[in-house]
Structures are given as structure tokens and as C-alpha cells.
């Protein structure tokens, strides 16, 4: 009896293993449609690679490249926030004979001349996420933007649902005048009428996405404004250190509409009981934007079929009120600086950010 159970379970596990192995082989053998037959080399160029978000994004880009066997060589360069270095990175990659370049043009239009010269030299070049100006087919092969206006609209709709009569909003974004923040504001304004008052200076409170500056800005805003109903921020995790300031001033943390991050989800779980007003809503932080850009670049360079999407739309990810599409997620066993909304499995992200 015991033996037969053992034998059965053994047989079952062997069968399962064989099936699992077989299916991975099938998955590996299956070439995605955007991967054409022509051999090519590809480089991913970052304008600023110095945070966990970028590390996860880079790992996602690399993983996408690996799906296509026609790509014979993959390179990566980090501009380290230096516009000059970003420009020379782009030019030197092209000079090295790389066929396809995927560029995160943090410096915006400043990198456009370099991109244009590479495009004119006959390379495939796909800037993504940050608008660098210029035109498709004239300055670059394809621009894969992210719809920050959509993000703003998604936040706006949620704010309307929890605060139907209007209220005070505080909007925090990165460096002064960054296009992401401006687009998000445009999206929010589409949905929210004048009964929703932005208490920050127009168009948004400048934080440079720096946790220390965020803390200072939030300090000033909390003590200035009697009541903040909702904080909107396009980089949620940089807020985590600053949110306890509300408790220091004997106020509840208000509702928060932002992008996701493991540390933020865990912070919400730890603090929601003490803070009755602390509701959390996130959109996916958009690491997967790079996948679409890489797919386009690979398709153009190898003669594959380009993907159907031309713009990356970040889906809503967590909602603490309705639990849809997800309840707030937290993986305490993994680093705080990973993004559970990303397609890249959490464990792989932990490896990418874990030094």
C-alpha cells in the first residue's frame, strides 16, 4: 500500500518534471513574431541608470532581447545622468557597428541630433518613454512613448470615485518642467473639474524624484495646508520615507494615487490601520515600456513583424478600496526596490537590484 503510493507519486513527479522540461524547451524554441530571420546586434542605452527602477527596466529589456535568437550581440551603456556622455554613448555604439539602438533619452531633445545622425547612417534607432522631439522616419525609426496622459486620467478617475465632491490635491513630480509630470497633469485636468484644488505651485511640486527633497517639500506642504485629501505622485516609492511626516504632525496619511513599488505596498499594509484616510491606488510603474521598444527595434532590424501597439499604456495595478484589479501587494521577503507590476518575475528583479 505504502509502496504503491510512493510509486504513484514518484511516477507523477517524474511525469510532471518531463512535462515541465518539455514545455520550457517548446517555449524556448518558439520564436516570437517580432523576431525576424535577419541577424542583427542591439544596444540598450540608458540616460541615467542609477536607480532600481532602471535596473529592473534594463533587466526586462535584456530578457526581451534574449527571446530572439537572431540578435547575436547585446550591449548596454549608462549615460549616468550626463547629457554629454549619453550623446557620445549613442554615437560610439553606432560607430561600433551595432545595428539597432533602443534609447532612453532622459535629456530630451538634447540627444535628438545624435539620434538623428545615427538614423541617417542607416541604423534602426528607437527612443522610448521620454519625448525627444523630432519625427518618425526623419529623426528616428520609431518612438515608443508612454501615455502619461492616460496615467493622469486613471488617477483622476480614482480620485473622483473616492472624493466625489472635490477636495485638495497635492501633485508631486520630478525635475521642474519634466514632460512626464506635465502630461500627467493634463490627464488629471481632463477628468477633474475646478472643485478639485491643486495646493502645490503650478504645475507640480518639484522633487527631482530625490527622497530627501521630497521629504522637505512634503514638510512644507503639510504644515502649509490645513487639509490635503489626496497626494498624487508619479514615483510612489520615493514618498515612503516622507509619509510618516503626517503622523509627526498628528494627521492621518491621506489617500495616495501613484505608481507601484514593493516598498510602498508594504508601507501601506503596515500603516493603514493607524491611518484611517490612507487609501492607495497605483498604476503599473511601466518597466515594461522597454519591452515594447525592444520588440519594435528587433522587428525593424531583423525583418520581423512589428508589434501591434505603438504606445505603452500602463494599466491600473492596485486599488486598496475595491481590490480591483489587484489588492495592495507586498512581498516582505524581497527587496523594497522592486516592482511587482513588472512582467519580470519578482525573484529576477531582486537579483537585478540586489548587489
Amino acid at each position: 500500500m505504502k509502496y504503491s503510493v510512493l510509486a504513484k507519486s514518484l511516477a507523477f513527479s517524474v511525469a510532471a518534471t518531463v512535462m515541465a522540461l518539455g514545455s520550457t524547451n517548446i517555449a524556448r524554441a518558439e520564436v516570437p513574431s517580432w523576431c525576424g530571420p535577419k541577424k542583427a546586434t542591439l544596444a540598450l542605452l540608458d540616460g541615467y541608470g542609477g536607480n532600481s527602477w532602471r535596473q529592473v527596466t534594463t533587466a526586462s529589456g535584456k530578457q526581451t532581447v534574449e527571446l530572439c535568437p537572431s540578435i547575436t550581440k547585446y550591449e548596454y551603456a549608462d549615460g549616468q545622468g550626463d547629457t554629454q556622455k549619453s550623446i557620445s554613448d549613442i554615437k560610439s555604439m553606432a560607430a561600433k557597428g551595432i545595428d539597432a539602438l533602443v534609447v532612453f533619452g532622459d535629456a530630451g531633445p538634447a540627444v535628438l541630433p545624435a539620434i538623428t545622425s545615427v538614423f541617417k547612417a542607416g541604423k534602426v534607432i528607437v527612443p522610448y518613454r521620454v519625448n525627444v522631439g523630432g519625427k518618425e522616419g526623419q529623426n528616428y525609426s520609431k518612438f515608443i512613448g508612454s501615455s502619461f496622459v492616460d496615467d493622469g486620467e486613471t488617477w483622476g478617475k480614482w480620485i473622483k470615485s473616492i472624493l466625489p465632491k472635490g477636495g485638495n490635491l497635492l501633485f508631486l513630480s520630478g525635475p521642474a518642467g519634466n514632460s512626464q509630470g506635465l502630461d500627467e497633469l493634463k490627464g488629471m485636468k481632463k477628468v477633474l473639474g475646478p472643485e478639485y484644488k491643486f495646493v502645490n505651485p503650478e504645475p507640480f511640486a518639484v522633487t527631482n524624484w530625490d527622497p530627501a527633497l521630497t521629504q522637505k517639500v512634503l514638510t512644507a506642504e503639510i504644515s502649509k495646508d490645513a487639509k490635503i485629501d489626496v497626494i498624487v505622485s508619479d514615483f510612489g516609492p520615493s514618498l515612503v520615507g516622507a509619509l510618516p511626516l503626517f503622523n509627526k504632525q498628528n494627521k492621518s496619511i491621506p489617500a495616495l494615487a501613484t505608481s507601484d513599488g514593493n516598498s510602498l505596498g508594504c508601507f501601506w499594509q503596515d500603516n493603514q490601520a493607524k491611518n484611517p484616510d490612507f487609501k492607495l491606488f497605483t498604476v503599473a510603474t511601466g518597466n515594461d515600456n522597454v519591452r515594447l521598444a525592444v520588440q519594435w527595434a528587433v522587428a525593424l532590424a531583423t525583418g520581423g513583424k512589428p508589434p501591434a501597439d505603438q504606445i505603452f499604456k500602463a494599466p491600473a495595478f492596485e486599488d486598496s478600496v475595491t481590490g480591483k484589479p489587484n489588492a495592495v501587494q507586498c512581498r516582505k521577503d524581497l527587496p523594497g526596490a522592486i516592482y511587482l507590476s513588472s512582467e519580470l518575475p519578482a525573484e529576477d528583479q531582486a537579483k537585478a537590484v540586489g548587489k
Binding site: 549608462d78 502645490n200 505651485p201 527622497p211 506642504e221 502649509k224 527587496p335 548587489k355
Partner: protein, 321 residues
């Protein structure tokens, strides 16, 4: 003993700023605002004290950003949120600081390199270490450090006590010990110091070492105050560190240092940025307000200086009569 002119100036400027705050942005001097912003004033004060020591020897320490960033990443990456490893991380950060300090000191005082050039080089080395430790990625701080550096005691942020302790130590050593008196004398006139038989090189070198230890302290505090500090947290501190030394009345040519005035200037500078944030003007105007107020703060010196000159020439006239 009459109060130092710089001290009076800084106190008056700070009081004036507080009055302006009270009128135009009362929220910036509320209790809550202070508890949020004072930790950053404390950080500026500590790096300012470090820079002060170097400036007293007629030098400049441009390795501050790398030094602060390195101790931030060592204090966050090395323990990986494990409280038990924290003290080792802090010791490691101090070891790095000592090495960087001696390197700066040897380059400047023994090999006689220009301080600006030498410390820029060291800064690049330190940033190399920052990337080696962190890969440029932030890490979340340990709970213990967050409690020590970010917590409050008797209703005051702990970081203030660290800043006050650093101030007390620097003031006491500079003003009341033989080493400190020699240090100031050498800063004022190295040739006279050498003629008097003082070891000018050692004192100059040690200025950079002490400075690094203070930067290290500031870095560890930042690691506790911000929950997920970036790997480049020191970058924004270089200019403030020099600004508070100048505002505090220490001559960039070296000589007598004013630690207390430097620390009050740090409060002034921080309150100024808090004021700019609280008045709720656009970002561009915030920057302009800060620049104007800084210009005013430094301008106050030149005005008082001219008054003093007139006074002294006046008294000379009296003598001549």
C-alpha cells in the same frame, strides 16, 4: 569678551529671516515644519563643520559629495536591512572616511597639490567606490538606523543632537585645546606657524581627515533620515557646505574659524529653502528667492566691514589730533 562680528551678523540675519517667515509664510515655522526640516539643517551643519576645518587651512574639500554618498551607500547596502550588521557598516564607512581623509591630506600637505585639484580626484575615486558598493542603486535603510537618525528625543529630531555634539566637539577642540589653537594659528599664517616650530604639514593633513569623519557622520545620518536614499545623496551638499562656512564669517583664505556661526548659518540656509517652499511660489521664483537671500546674507558682511573701517580710521584721526 565681545561677541564675534560674524556671530552677531548671522544671528541678526537668522532672526530677520524668522520674522519674514512669520509674516509671509507662517507655516514654515510651525512645530511640524521644524520637525521635518531640522534634520536636513543638521546635516548641512555637520558637513559645514567639516568644510570649515579645511577652509581654515586655506583649502577646499570638493570630495564631500563622494564622501557623503559613500557613507550613505555603505550604511544602507552593507547591512541590507539587517540591524545586527549596522555597527559594522558604520565602522566600515569610518574606515573609508579615514582612508579618503589621509589621501586628501597627503596629496595637499605633503605633495603640495592644489586642494581643489586633489580633492576633485579623490571625489572621483570615492564615486568609484560608491558604484562598486551600490551599483548606483538605492537600498532601503535598516530599521535601527532609521530609529537612531530619524527618531525623536524629547520632541526634537535626534539628528539635531548629533549636530550639536559635533559642534561642541569642534568648538571645544578648536578653541580650548593646544592642538586646536595651533591648528588655527597655522591656518592664519603657516609661515609664522613653522617659524614657531609647529608641524604645519601634520595639522594641514589632519584637517582633511577630521573633515572626512564629519562627512561620514552626515552620510550615516542621511541614510537613516531618508528611508531609501539614492547613491548620489551627497551631490546637493557641496555648495551648501561652502555657503555656510562663508556665511558663518570664516575667511576663505584660512585662519580663524567660527563653528557656532557656521551651524547657525546652516539653520539659516535650510530655513531659507523651507521658506521658499512654503510661500507657494513657482519653482523658478523659489530659486531666485534663495539666491537673493544668500546674496543679502553675504552682503551684510561687506556693509559691516566698511562701517568698521570707517570707525577705525575715525579713531586714528582722533589720535592724530
Amino acid at each position: 569678551m565681545p561677541l564675534a562680528r560674524s556671530f552677531v551678523t548671522v544671528i541678526l540675519s537668522t532672526l530677520l529671516l524668522l520674522v519674514v517667515c512669520m509674516i509671509f509664510a507662517p507655516s514654515s515655522i510651525s512645530l511640524g515644519a521644524f520637525s521635518g526640516s531640522l534634520p536636513f539643517a543638521a546635516i548641512i551643519a555637520i558637513v559645514g563643520l567639516g568644510q570649515l576645518l579645511v577652509v581654515q587651512q586655506g583649502g577646499f574639500d570638493l570630495s564631500l559629495p563622494g564622501a557623503v554618498s559613500l557613507s550613505v551607500v555603505v550604511a544602507t547596502h552593507y547591512p541590507q536591512q539587517n540591524d545586527a550588521m549596522l555597527y559594522r557598516a558604520v565602522l566600515l564607512a569610518m574606515a573609508f572616511a579615514l582612508a579618503a581623509g589621509f589621501l586628501n591630506g597627503v596629496l595637499v600637505s605633503i605633495f603640495r597639490l592644489n586642494a581643489i585639484i586633489a580633492t576633485i580626484g579623490t571625489n572621483a575615486l570615492l564615486y568609484g567606490a560608491v558604484f562598486a558598493v551600490s551599483g548606483g542603486v538605492p537600498s532601503i535603510t535598516t530599521n535601527l538606523l532609521a530609529e537612531i537618525a530619524g527618531g525623536e528625543t524629547f520632541g526634537f529630531p535626534n539628528s539635531i543632537f548629533f549636530a550639536l555634539a559635533a559642534l561642541a566637539l569642534v568648538s571645544f577642540v578648536l578653541k580650548k585645546t593646544v592642538v586646536g589653537r595651533r591648528f588655527e594659528a597655522i591656518g592664519a599664517n603657516p609661515l609664522a606657524g613653522r617659524a614657531a616650530g609647529l608641524n604645519v604639514r601634520i595639522h594641514r593633513m589632519m584637517a582633511y581627515v577630521y573633515a572626512q569623519l564629519l562627512y561620514c557622520m552626515a552620510g550615516v545620518l542621511i541614510a537613516g533620515i531618508t528611508r531609501e536614499p539614492t547613491a548620489f545623496q551627497g551631490d546637493s551638499l557641496l555648495l551648501p557646505s561652502v555657503a555656510v562656512v562663508v556665511l558663518g564669517g570664516t575667511s576663505l583664505l584660512g585662519g580663524r574659524g567660527y563653528p557656532i556661526s557656521t551651524v547657525i548659518s546652516a539653520f539659516f540656509l535650510n530655513q531659507l529653502s523651507q521658506f521658499a517652499l512654503a510661500v507657494g511660489v513657482p519653482f523658478s521664483a523659489q530659486t531666485i528667492i534663495q539666491a537673493l537671500a544668500l546674496g543679502f546674507g553675504i552682503g551684510v558682511y561687506s556693509i559691516r566691514w566698511r562701517v568698521n573701517v570707517r570707525k577705525s580710521t575715525g579713531s586714528k584721526n582722533v589720535e592724530e589730533k
